[in-house]
Structures are given as structure tokens and as C-alpha cells.
Subunit: 270 residues, 2 copies
């Protein structure tokens, strides 16, 4: 199973939570690399963050789901508690620069803007990579925002715990496979389609869910690359592909939309 | 009319396009400062970017619309053509660092990642501020990504034109007032509501649009601050608040949602 980042990344934590501690994990540099690894058959699964309860969707991963021929086979929600980590001997008053992933910086914006607005904030590809950088640079003016377990992994000290704005901060990860796998016990469908920006197109489309009694749990729109003001919609709804109501709705949607794609049918995290 | 940035910002361009060249404009440092200025009556209107056709919504401005008691009174779409600007005498091979707004960096990601992946990318609050910084630093290894007119304003030279991925790149700006103004000729309603993450809640809500024959043109969801996996929805639909179908739908929505708010009824940009 591939995840993006280095040892100690939240994606690794989600991987272990979903597959158990015996699973063989491998770190890659970017989310795209994770998709490539399963597309090329080098890994069976990739685990990618898709949405955070404070900062919103991870837009790039929605876009990657369309670019690669993969399917979502599961989801895992984990609690995200960010800690401020620094080198041994550093004090809070020594810190001048803080490194983390842009999403993590956003999730700690009250702490960073109100209490430490003078700190320089620098974006890294991953929270655990930020911890690794601080350890390698051995500079007491640097801190990383990352999961507290990185203190132990990278021999750093914890200057502050749980600095994220929302104390119940959670991230939802998707488990992606290079093979099409629709599970019999699945109860959640994720799909995507594109619509021209025409009067009534969104109206007609959503009516397929409503008239078939299907419960949408999420709807996201993203700009369609290269087509101004046309949208790509990502919709989650409750159901299994073997149900008649689901098949009816999908048939109607497929006829009235463009680039229609079922992203997965899997067991919802509850 | 207040806009965020400095002389030459795209927001200023949108302001002049909407109000005409005679309007008195004033620059503020942040989008929040623009909202404060109209809330305190220091300005009549604020012009804020809300969505780009390549990079998607400007999430912070959606959130600010809820935080301040303001209304949208109009919208303006302008074409965004990013140029690479540098100090006089600099050549493309001299450039090591490129400054711009994170959205502009995203809009030029093909150019930056494929052609110049070795350049360091640094985030500024505004594209025109990036041009100003490059001018002030007088360092030939620096470049800014900004509107081409900043070359003239800040005495910079144009190294490349139209480097954004999407040649038809456009941004939609909203015109916001501190007073509630619903125009008689308005044909677009923007509203917002929050929903608990319960089975069927989104289903019931959207049916008010469909059963009243109202055409939704946009739906966005944002996480609800401090409430995990509850969502705030932003919906645009065609209509005027004086129409009976609109009043029926709003009445139903108000009863079944939380924090229901009409953000504006204004003339859609066509």
C-alpha cells in the first residue's frame, strides 16, 4: 500500500488504521506518484486524503481520480491533532519559521495568526517531511506542525499540543485500487460527471437522485479543465450498484451528462 | 470602492470594469479588511474574487460572506492573462524565484512545473504586490506573475505573456455592499444554509428547488466551522425575490435548514 510523505505521515496512520498494522507500506513523494504506483501495478492500493473537516476538500485528489483509471474501494476517517515540534533545546521564544503542509497551516490558522503572527510560514509537501526537515536542519528557530508521534520518530520535542482550530479536526482518506472492485456489501457510491453551463442542466441531473429516492450525502463542483464555467460534479450517495433504483438513476445520469464515471461503490465509514 | 491588493491588482481591474473608470477606488491589505471597510461604512462597496475558471472557488471569501452582514449586489467576470514580469535587464535564464498569489501560481502550474520546475515559488497576498516586491528588491533573479499592465505601473519588463494553463482563464468577482439591496431587475439569487450530516437532509433541501421549477446554476459545499462533517451550502439559482416560486422555495428551505441566509439578489453577468 502506497502513501504520500515519509514515516509518520497522517496518510500512513490512515493506512494502518484501515489495513491493520501488518500491512506492507511504501512512501512516495507526491499524490500523483501514489496514483502512478497503482496504475503501473507496483502497489495494490493507494491511500489519499480527500477531505478535512476544517479545511475542506483536497481538490488535487478529486482531479486525480478522473485522470487515472482507478476505483475507490474504501474510506477511513482519522482524528488529526497537530503538535508544534522543534529541536531539543529550542524554546517557544526561539521559533521564527514554521514548516508544514498548507492544509495543516490552514487548520492551525487561529494559533498562527493570532498568537504567532510574526512567524514565517513555509509550505512543505507533507507534515512528516516538515518534521524531518526541522530535525535535519538542527536549527532551534525552526518548528514543524505535524502529528505528535513524529516527536518520537525524529527525536524532536513537543512545544505545544493540539494547536489546530477545531479540537475535533478529522480527515477522510480514500483507499484506491487500480482494479475495478465493487463490493457486495457496499453502501456508498461515488461518481463524477461533467455538465455544460446550460440553463437547467444541474436541475435535470439532480432530479434523477430525487425521483429514485436516493440520498445524496455530498456534492462538490470543480472547474472543468480548459472549459470556462463548465463544471465537473463529484457526488456521493447511499446505495449499492445492484439496487434497481441506483441502476435507474445511473442510466438517466449517463444519458444526460458528459464524462460520466462511477468512482467506486464501497462501505461508508461510520 | 475598496479592493484588496495594490495598484494594478486584478480586483482593481474588475472594479473599473463594473463601476467605470470614474469611480474612486481604495486599496486594502486583505479580503477581511475589505469586508471591515464596508461593515464600518468607510466604503460603499467591496469587490472580491469569488471563483476562477481554472483554480475553483476562493474559499475564504465564501466564508467571509457569512461572517459579515453584507449583501452581493452584482458580479463581474474578467479575463485573467498572467505575464511573467522581471526587472529591466533580467533574462529568463537569470530567474530563480517567482512571486505571485497562490491562486495565480496554481493557474500557471503547467508552465511552472513542466518548463521551470527549478524555480522557487513564493506566495504573496496579491499578484500586483508581487510585481511591486520585484521592483523594490531590484534583483534580476526575481520574477512576478501578474497582469501585464503591472509592467508599465512598476517599470518592469515582460519576459513571457499569457503563461496560464487555460488560455481563456477568467475570474468572477462579486460586488458587495454593507446595505441590503435587492434590485428589481435582479435575476440571480445567492443563498447559504447549513445542514447537519443526517440521512436525507440534502435530498429534502434540494427538492425545494426542483419542485418549484427553479434552476440552480451552482452549488458549493464548505465544512461548517467546529462541526465535523456538517456542511454549509452555497447555492446560486435564477430568479427574483418577488417571484412566487422563489418565495415558496425560500420558505421551505428556511424551515428545514439552519443559519439560512440570502446573500444577494442581483443581475447575473452574462
Amino acid at each position: 500500500v502506497v502513501f504520500q510523505g515519509v514515516e509518520g505521515a497522517y496518510s500512513q496512520k490512515a493506512t494502518l488504521a484501515f489495513f491493520g498494522s501488518e500491512v506492507e507500506t511504501s512512501a512516495v513523494e507526491t499524490w500523483r506518484d501514489a496514483m502512478e504506483a497503482i496504475a503501473e501495478g507496483k502497489a495494490d492500493y493507494a491511500v489519499l486524503p480527500i477531505e478535512n473537516s476544517t479545511a475542506g476538500i483536497v481538490a488535487q485528489n478529486y482531479d486525480l481520480l478522473l485522470e487515472y483509471d482507478v476505483s475507490i474501494v474504501g474510506e477511513q476517517v482519522i482524528r488529526i491533532q497537530h503538535a508544534l515540534l522543534a529541536n531539543q533545546g529550542a524554546e517557544l521564544s526561539d521559533i521564527k519559521t514554521v514548516y508544514s503542509h498548507p492544509q495543516a497551516l490552514m487548520q492551525c490558522s487561529c494559533y498562527l495568526e493570532q498568537t504567532h503572527s510574526q512567524w514565517e510560514k513555509k509550505a512543505m509537501r507533507n507534515t512528516a517531511e516538515a518534521a524531518l526537515k526541522v530535525r535535519n536542519d538542527k536549527d532551534i528557530s525552526q518548528a514543524a506542525i505535524a502529528d505528535i508521534q513524529n516527536a518520537e520518530i525524529y527525536d524532536l520535542q513537543v512545544l505545544e499540543e493540539a494547536i489546530q482550530d477545531n479540537k475535533d479536526n478529522e480527515t477522510r482518506f480514500i483507499i484506491v485500487s487500480g482494479e475495478k472492485k465493487f463490493l457486495k456489501t457496499a453502501d456508498k457510491v461515488s461518481l463524477c460527471f461533467e455538465l455544460p453551463n446550460e440553463t437547467g442542466s444541474l436541475y435535470h441531473t439532480l432530479s434523477h437522485f430525487i425521483f429514485n429516492g436516493l440520498n445524496m450525502t455530498k456534492i462538490e463542483s470543480r472547474p472543468r479543465p480548459g472549459k470556462n464555467w463548465d463544471y465537473r460534479f463529484f457526488i456521493d450517495f447511499q446505495g449499492n450498484l445492484e439496487q434497481e433504483a441506483v441502476q435507474n438513476a445511473l442510466l438517466g445520469l449517463k444519458e444526460e451528462t458528459e464524462s460520466f464515471k462511477i468512482l467506486g461503490n464501497y462501505k461508508a465509514w461510520a
